[in-house]
């Protein structure tokens, strides 16, 4: 019988597999521990970001027109629906302005500098998105120079889409909430229930159903489908009051001891052309 592999080839393959597995596990561990990647990697990423920025101009334009053509089909229906909502929003906006004003005066009287709800925003443009099976990350065109730091929340359109996972000098990466690695979507949230809030953290993302999961909830407060979910600000890095999504269903866990809440994320993770990074003002003077 012909030998397919010589013993030397087998040894080489095994050794290289061990090296590669070690490399994957090692660099994953290292990336979690450090805020910015080592100089060489950062330099390479900045350079690659520059090239990517140029290439993204035509593809983004094509993508945008394809999306607009898609949107055109249900514009009429949407327009009618939105018109009915707009009056409601105008009223809410006036009320919000008054409450904001009042809040500011009250904070001044209490000599509070910044609370969990104070944040400033940095807007950025998506220049690339990793074409990968896992760890779908966006590359945005703002980095260390704009004051971004690892862990900051990123919003797009309706709500939160992820957190900054790596900061280079002129660009950064955003880990999306659909990514199940530990730093991507473990943020503190609060659900505005009928008889009181329920606090907790996002524990997982179900990619097969496109839902965020908040498990191990023992609170007896009533939560029902449609309740709003927002960030609670606990932990300090992520400001309070960022919209996350709506409760889609509440189930019991496998042992029946605690509740598992499934959340429909508000943001559309597919079309992300511009993003806003929320920078908490706590500690900033």
């Amino acid at each position: 019988m012909r030998k397919i592999f010589s013993s030397r080839a087998v040894v080489t393959i095994i050794i290289s597999l061990i090296v590669i597995v070690g490399l994957i596990a090692g660099s994953n561990w290292w990336a979690k521990r450090t805020n910015t990647p080592p100089f060489f990697q950062r330099f390479g990423n900045d350079l690659a970001g520059g090239v990517s920025r140029i290439i993204s101009v035509p593809t983004t334009a094509i993508g945008r027109s394809a999306n607009s053509i898609g949107n055109l089909l249900d514009t009429f229906e949407e327009n009618r629906e939105l018109k009915s909502k707009i009056d409601e929003f105008a009223q809410d906006k006036v009320r919000l302005q008054t409450v904001e004003e009042e809040n500011k005066t009250l904070k001044n009287q209490l000599k509070l500098k910044a609370t969990l709800t104070d944040y400033k925003t940095v807007s950025a443009v998506t220049i690339s998105r990793s074409p990968t099976t896992w760890q779908s990350q966006l590359v945005i065109n703002k980095g260390l120079k704009s004051g971004l730091k690892k862990g900051m929340p990123v919003l797009s359109g309706a709500g939160i889409i992820g957190r900054i996972s790596e900061v280079n000098t002129t660009n950064s990466k955003v880990a999306l909430i659909s990514d199940t690695s530990e730093d991507a979507n473990r943020f503190a949230i609060t659900i505005k229930g009928g008889n009181g809030d329920v606090n907790g953290i996002v524990t997982n993302f179900n990619r097969e159903k496109n839902q965020l999961i908040m498990s191990q909830v023992t609170s007896e407060n009533q939560i029902k489908a449609g309740d709003l979910v927002e960030t609670s600000g606990l932990g300090g890095v992520i400001p309070a009051g960022l919209y996350v999504g709506k409760v889609s269903s509440v189930t019991r866990d496998d042992y029946g001891l605690s509740k598992r809440i499934n959340i429909e994320p508000a943001a559309d993770l597919g079309n992300v052309t511009t993003v806003v990074v929320a920078v908490s003002q706590i500690g900033a003077q």
Binding site: S52, S56, P131, W134, V272
Partner: protein, 175 residues
């Protein structure tokens, strides 16, 4: 074959390989709404398509092909995931399998498509396995094949078919 002709392929091939790496990312960002419309998850893999053409049209012998494969893998890992090893291994494994298959099959379009299809499956399965190592794989193998591998293969095979003869003539011109 004159020296300058050899150099031409050596410059144009890696330059386009480098360019396509970023085109993949831009396509994913620009057309994300279509490519990741729930429940589908389609990846543009133009970089792998370009590597396949080199194997299929046997231009890999005229240049330091393995060096390009390794370098593009490292760059991919560095820029897109920040975790080294996954895509370097995926590109190497896919190219190695495609090269072995190319020895058995001929240069017809259908044989080419079969080679690419198997290469693409190897590429995606390696990335799925790497997800397990670092504990981020959260999709069952069935869902992965139905909603990611299948549509990705369809999209990329269409690309391979459309660009098959133009690329062949380009390589003939550069050779």
């Amino acid at each position: 074959m004159a020296f300058w002709q050899l150099t031409r392929l050596r410059v144009v091939y890696p330059a386009l390989l480098f360019f396509l790496l970023f085109v993949d990312g831009s396509l994913m960002a620009g057309m994300g709404g279509i490519l990741t419309a729930f429940p589908w998850y389609i990846l543009p893999t133009l970089t792998l398509v370009w590597l396949f053409y080199a194997v299929q049209f046997e231009v890999d012998k005229d240049m330091p092909f393995w060096l390009y494969v390794i370098l593009i893998g490292i760059l991919f890992d560095m820029y897109y995931t920040g975790i080294f090893g996954t895509y370097t291994l995926a590109f190497i494994a896919a190219v190695a399998v495609m090269k072995q298959l190319h020895k058995i099959l001929d240069e017809r379009l259908l044989s080419g498509i079969s080679i690419f299809l198997i290469g693409l499956i190897v590429y995606l399965v390696v990335t799925y396995g790497a997800g397990f190592i670092i504990g981020i794989a959260n999709v069952s193998l069935v869902t992965f094949f139905a909603f990611e591998v299948l549509p990705t293969a369809v999209l990329n095979i269409i690309v391979v078919t459309i660009c098959y003869y133009p690329t062949w003539s380009l390589f003939q011109f550069l050779k």
